[in-house]
């Protein structure tokens, strides 16, 4: 048996970068697994923060992309700011539940520093859930819409 250490190192780098706990690869008869169990949370201050940690540390969406998940995909916010569903206070929402969307279609606005940032769909699909109320603040990575791809 001959180990390909470089390949192994590459896997570890990937594990780190993506903040994973395990990678397992099986090919033909070969199998590699690297694993890092999260350190037991001794000494973790968890009770003090009054902050609502809405942002999940595992949130992997770094763009208004639509990562596949078991229960559909999500459009996440690429900006910190205020979420608006319509182009003006009296306007119609850009999209609503049940609407079909195509790539490039504007779904909402996230306002920051008086700039209206239009958030566009990157995939085609159907809006099945609106996850943030109009006019509410959103953080980077917050889920805005759930979408059924296709």
């Amino acid at each position: 048996m001959k180990l390909d250490l470089d390949q192994l190192r590459e896997l570890i780098r990937l594990l780190d970068e993506a903040n994973l706990t395990e990678i397992e690869v099986e090919q033909d008869d070969d199998r590699i697994r690297v694993r890092r169990d999260p350190a037991p949370a001794v000494g973790v201050p968890s009770s003090e923060s009054k902050a609502a940690h809405k942002a999940q540390s595992s949130g992997s969406a770094v763009a208004p992309s639509a990562p596949e998940e078991d229960d559909g995909a999500y459009i996440t916010s690429p900006f910190v700011g205020t979420f608006y569903r319509a182009p003006s206070p009296d306007g119609e929402p850009f999209v609503d539940i049940g609407d079909s969307v195509v790539p490039g279609q504007v779904l909402c606005i996230v306002e920051a520093m008086k700039l209206m940032n239009e958030i566009e769909a990157e995939v085609a699909g159907t809006i099945v859930e609106v996850l943030v109320e109009n006019g509410k603040p959103v953080e980077y990575g917050d889920r805005l819409f759930r979408i059924e791809i296709g």
Partner: protein, 444 residues
């Protein structure tokens, strides 16, 4: 008075600012990248906003995201800490335009002191002693001319540089051409500015710096000096206050000179004037850092004040009202910067903290951004904790620091604690015979 402060930073300095805000009854907003969602500053602030991915250019350095975080949380003031946007005049200006109080110097002061060549000229015009140096070098012929006029050895420096980066020592004109071209390219890449100049090169100088505070009422306080000669590649790793190398006369003379100079420019908030001290006892101005510095706690301990508190008072327009005793140091303080890095190779050592026991007891202060089970990401500064001690004398402070380093345990990552221990055990350090070359010349 503003009631909610956003801290545009992470790690120990973000915690440092949160702590003083909380003591003053101010509410705090932490901003954090995705990888810092569980970091201590995120957890200990009253509110926390995710502003971007781990890459600092898209989070801690991303001005619109930080301003937007202030907008959605209703923060009224911003503290930039050190590093990141702390010396970015555009950020300070944007804050002002958005109605946010920037807790720091005015943008024009940042610009004034940000360029090293103009800063030196300004310092000279204000009556501060400066190191012999040249104007901006035009080309390679000009470089040879200027270097010979100044006299070797010379130091080639980037006008836009900082933190010791972009500097080259030249013992003679040999190799000047290639060094000049390399330095110019480096400077362009690192600082977006390829202006270079020469300075007289001192062989074994000490690094001495003076802490100042200025308020909106024209008061300038000079809060003594710090000695930061223990450096590795121009990165300070051990600092102390006061310096054994200054006499009372040197200290008070330079304090008076600085007070006059900074009063003339109407300097606001905390700032540090850095000097080199040569072997003949001459102090020469190096640069001015318009921000709070990593090593500010040693000044706090010997002066009995809270510099972040003073910065906040100043930003609120209050006059400085330091007790008179705060102008003379009491005892001696030493700080060791604990970095997540290999103590020999200095390679960064990010990872998960598996074991943690920080020192405690009389005269020990810990400013740390880590906790057991927490992660030190690879994306940011390797500084994970500052161990600071205060004792009546320098000898006692050294003994206390040795004791404190000995009982500090940080598992899961490598740290430079063994390096600190080697310095603290060294007879030359004990005797105060140090220079910026100390670490370089330290036998391993």
């Amino acid at each position: 008075m503003f009631e909610k402060v956003l801290i545009a930073n992470r790690g120990e300095i973000a915690l440092r600012v949160i702590r003083t805000c909380r003591e003053l009854g101010l509410r705090t907003v932490a901003v954090h990248s995705e990888i810092d969602a569980d970091a201590l500053h995120t957890r200990l602030a009253d509110e926390a906003i995710c502003i971007g991915p781990a890459d600092p250019r898209r989070s801690y350095l991303h001005i619109p995201a930080i301003i937007a975080a202030a907008e959605i949380t209703g923060a009224e003031a911003v503290h930039p800490g050190y590093g990141f946007l702390s010396e970015n005049s555009e950020f300070a200006e944007t804050c002002a335009q958005c109605g946010l109080e920037f807790i720091g110097p005015l943008p024009e002061q940042m610009r004034l002191w940000g360029d090293k060549v103009s800063a030196r000229a300004l310092a000279k015009s204000l009556g501060l002693p400066t190191l012999e140096g040249t104007d901006i070098i035009k080309d390679i012929e000009d470089a040879v001319r200027k270097a010979e006029a100044l006299g070797f050895p010379v130091l080639l420096k980037a006008s836009g540089g900082g933190g010791g980066r972009g500097m080259h020592v030249l013992q003679s004109k040999e190799g000047l051409r290639s060094v000049f071209e390399t330095a110019r390219a480096e400077s362009r890449a690192a600082f977006g500015n390829d202006s270079l100049y020469f300075e007289k090169y001192l062989e074994r100088p000490r690094h001495i710096e003076f802490q100042i505070l200025g308020d909106t009422h024209g008061n300038i306080h000079v809060l003594g000096e710090r000695e930061c000669s223990i450096q590795r590649r121009h990165q300070k790793i051990i600092e102390e206050a006061p310096s054994v190398a200054l006499t009372e006369e040197m200290r008070s003379d330079m304090s008076a000179t600085i007070r006059r100079a900074m009063g003339e420019v109407g300097y606001l908030s905390a700032g540090t004037l850095e000097f080199l001290l040569d072997e003949r006892g001459e102090l020469t101005f190096l640069e001015m850092n318009p921000r709070i510095q990593v090593e500010h706690p040693v000044t706090e301990l010997v002066m009995g004040i809270d510099l972040i508190h003073e910065q906040i008072r100043i930003a609120d327009g209050q006059p400085l009202a330091l007790p008179s005793q705060s102008l003379t140091p009491r005892g001696h303080a030493i700080e060791c910067r604990i970095n997540a890095e290999d103590p020999d190779t200095f390679a960064p050592s990010p990872g998960v903290i598996t074991e943690l026991h920080m020192a405690g007891g009389t005269g020990v202060r810990v400013d740390s951004g880590i906790f057991g089970g927490g992660r030190v990401p690879a994306h940011y500064d390797p500084l994970v904790a500052k161990l600071i001690v205060h004792a009546p004398t320098r000898a006692q402070a050294i003994a206390k620091m040795r004791r404190a380093l000995g009982e500090t345990i940080i598992g899961g990552i490598r740290t430079n604690i063994p390096l600190h221990q080697r310095v603290l055990e060294h007879p030359a350090f004990e005797e105060g015979r140090i220079s910026t070359k100390f670490l370089e010349e330290l036998p391993t």
